[in-house]
């Protein structure tokens, strides 16, 4: 799958869930692109731009040695987290994801300062510096982390969904994973249980085309990943993950199905990461031209800008937002650089309830 996800107008229409030829089972309705107000377009833009600028800054801080270890940037995939999470009910629904988790936190409006401070391992970080880039949590937003083991969070998300159903609280769990994780065995254990027990869960495959350096085609016998739930009777939807309105529209169709008690939905979001898998990625598995082609033709933020212009939002307004976002990101970086590191005694805290 070395090709960039195209966004011809025909491709946008393909965001409709593709019915499986093998069955005539009922599935979620065909999604339609979300009809956003100008204010909503601005909000999406603000959130997506924040993710991009934040991640660029994180990349810089990593280069300066202020962020250590592992750091996986979300640049290119912004429309996915923003489009999906904007459709959730923040009071009821829960979200869990893998290690590329900065964007999902930012899409929730969590203060960028405490996210950046987590990346730099400071005590003021949202998980007090204990989680780092890959492991961040927020009780307030029912955000159950950031998980560093590929695919492990899918089972946890299934447990969250079980708990929603058990409590009868009307919540839906959204469990993100990547195209790479979609080949892990425990993902299918989770699919089976989720459908068997009709759990309120949306499984989201963020297909950014590469599992570290291995393309989907080189790793996956069935490369149409939205079909991976078929043998569990889980309906699948393939969505243009570079178009925030398509994503939001598909999320609403999926949520209708799940909230009606009909069990899980599998969404495949076709997207693309511009940067390496992590900061130490030599990127020899794809060409510069391929990356550039996506940036030129399919960039989610550029696309949204066009929609904003069409909706009558002026260039000045967009520039103001850009300036505002740069200031927020700069402030978060300053905070993350200057906040103190955890105390030494934190080495032993939060291992078990009590200390032994």
């Amino acid at each position: 799958m070395a090709k960039a996800p195209a966004r011809a107008s025909a491709a946008s229409k393909k965001t409709a869930s593709t019915p499986s030829p093998a069955t005539n089972r009922e599935g979620p309705r065909d999604p339609v692109p979300y009809d956003a107000t100008p204010a909503e377009l601005e909000k999406f833009y603000r959130e997506m731009l924040l993710i991009r600028r934040f991640e660029e800054k994180a990349g810089q801080l990593y280069g300066l040695g202020l962020i250590g270890g592992f750091c996986h940037l979300y640049i290119g995939q912004e429309a996915v987290a923003v489009g999906l999470q904007s459709a959730l009910d923040g009071d009821k629904d829960s979200v869990i994801t893998g290690y590329r988790d900065h964007g999902h936190m930012l899409a929730y409006g969590i203060d960028p300062k405490v996210i950046m401070a987590e990346l730099t391992g400071r005590a003021a970080g949202i998980s007090r510096g204990k989680g780092g880039s890959m492991h961040m949590f927020s009780v307030e937003h029912k955000f159950y982390g950031g998980h560093g083991i590929v695919g492990a969070q899918v089972s946890l998300g299934t447990g969250l969904a079980f708990a929603h159903k058990y409590r009868g609280d009307g919540g839906v769990a959204m469990s993100y994973f990547g195209d790479g994780a979609s080949n892990q065995g425990q993902v299918y254990e989770s699919f089976n249980m989720a459908e068997l027990w009709k759990l309120p869960i949306i499984f989201v495959i963020e297909n950014n085309q590469y599992a570290m350096g291995t393309s989907v085609n080189r790793s996956s016998a069935e490369d149409q990943l939205y079909r991976r739930g078929e043998s569990f009777r889980i309906p699948g939807m393939q969505v243009d993950g570079m178009d925030v309105l398509a994503v939001r529209g598909a999320a609403e169709a999926a949520l209708e199905w799940v909230r009606a008690g009909k069990g899980p939905v599998l969404m495949e979001l076709k997207t693309y990461r511009y940067r390496g898998h992590s900061m130490s990625d030599p990127a020899k598995y794809r060409s510069r031209e391929e990356v550039q082609a996506v940036r030129d033709k399919s960039d989610a933020i550029e696309h949204l800008k066009k929609l904003m212009t069409d909706a009558g939002i002026g260039e000045d307004k967009i520039k103001d937002i850009d300036k505002e976002i740069r200031a927020i990101v700069a402030e978060s970086a300053d905070f993350a650089e200057s906040a103190p590191e955890p105390e030494l005694h934190d080495l032993y805290t939060d291992v078990l309830v009590e200390q032994y």
Partner: protein
Amino acid sequence: MMSADTMTATKTMNMIEAINSAMDVMLERDSNVVVMGEDVGFFGGVFRATAGLQKKHGKTRVFDTPINECGIIGVAVGMGAYGLRPVPEIQFADYIYPGLDQLVSEAARLRYRSAADFICPMTVRTPFGGGIFGGQTHSQSPESIMTHICGVKTVIPSNPYDAKGLLIAAIEDNDPVVFLEPKRIYNGPFSGYYDRPVEPWSKHAASAVPEGHYRIELGKAATVREGEALTVLAYGTMVHVVKTIVEELKVDAEIIDLRTLLPLDIDAIEASVKKTGRCLVIHEATRTSGFGAELAALVQERCFYHLEAPVERVTGFDTPYPHSLEWAYFPGPVRIATALTKILKD
């Protein structure tokens, strides 16, 4: 120690019945408790530990899962993070390995990595140990793998009374607990002599089990026999085996049943070894990097100047658990007697 609300009638129970009763009591008291696993619902568990629970508490709270240990533990971690108290059963401890990823990287790390925003109050029950001709995939003792994880508590009861009180405390605990049930002694204590008739629990004092709620705090050892000549550290099945040999040989041993390996009651161990000056560690698990190695290190760190002989270990051999040569592998009467003689002579 029994807590105040334990003044209920007692009933004679074997370990299976006591474990069943603990889950029954907790299902009754706390609607967040759910019991899940392979065959635990309709069938009542391969060892019958969950018999009758689904019928009494319903399919929402006591239910069958597919055969997918990683998925079972992973789902339970998510349920725990959301505030439930799942009690998954892994049918044999040997099957826990597919779920080890979830146990190590998720269950044991969730509190730490979220800086205590989220916790995992899950109790994984699993039968372990040999003595039933299970061979290499139905007899293993993985306790030192669990204690090595950090972030998981490890509990091993040795009798019905303790099993129920410890299991209730485990389910009520806010951390993940691996509750290892010595399956050889489910129906009666084991003397170590495989060719003698099995004694039922009903002849043992610890089979008098209160029907209601009571707790045995995690992290507290029990002295099952007081003595002056040496300290024996054991847990699970081996508590009964060593007690038989000690009584046969008329050795004045102090036998400590650890009950919880992590957190470990190191104070009780230290006080006893300082009193006796000698220490024998017994476990069924393989020797190298077994929990006995940890115990021996702790004893020498804390009691070195009180020791009159090197710490001895009697353990399983460093081999897969054999099928046909089970009783040669099992650290039974002969090896224990030899070790006792040696340590008392030194």
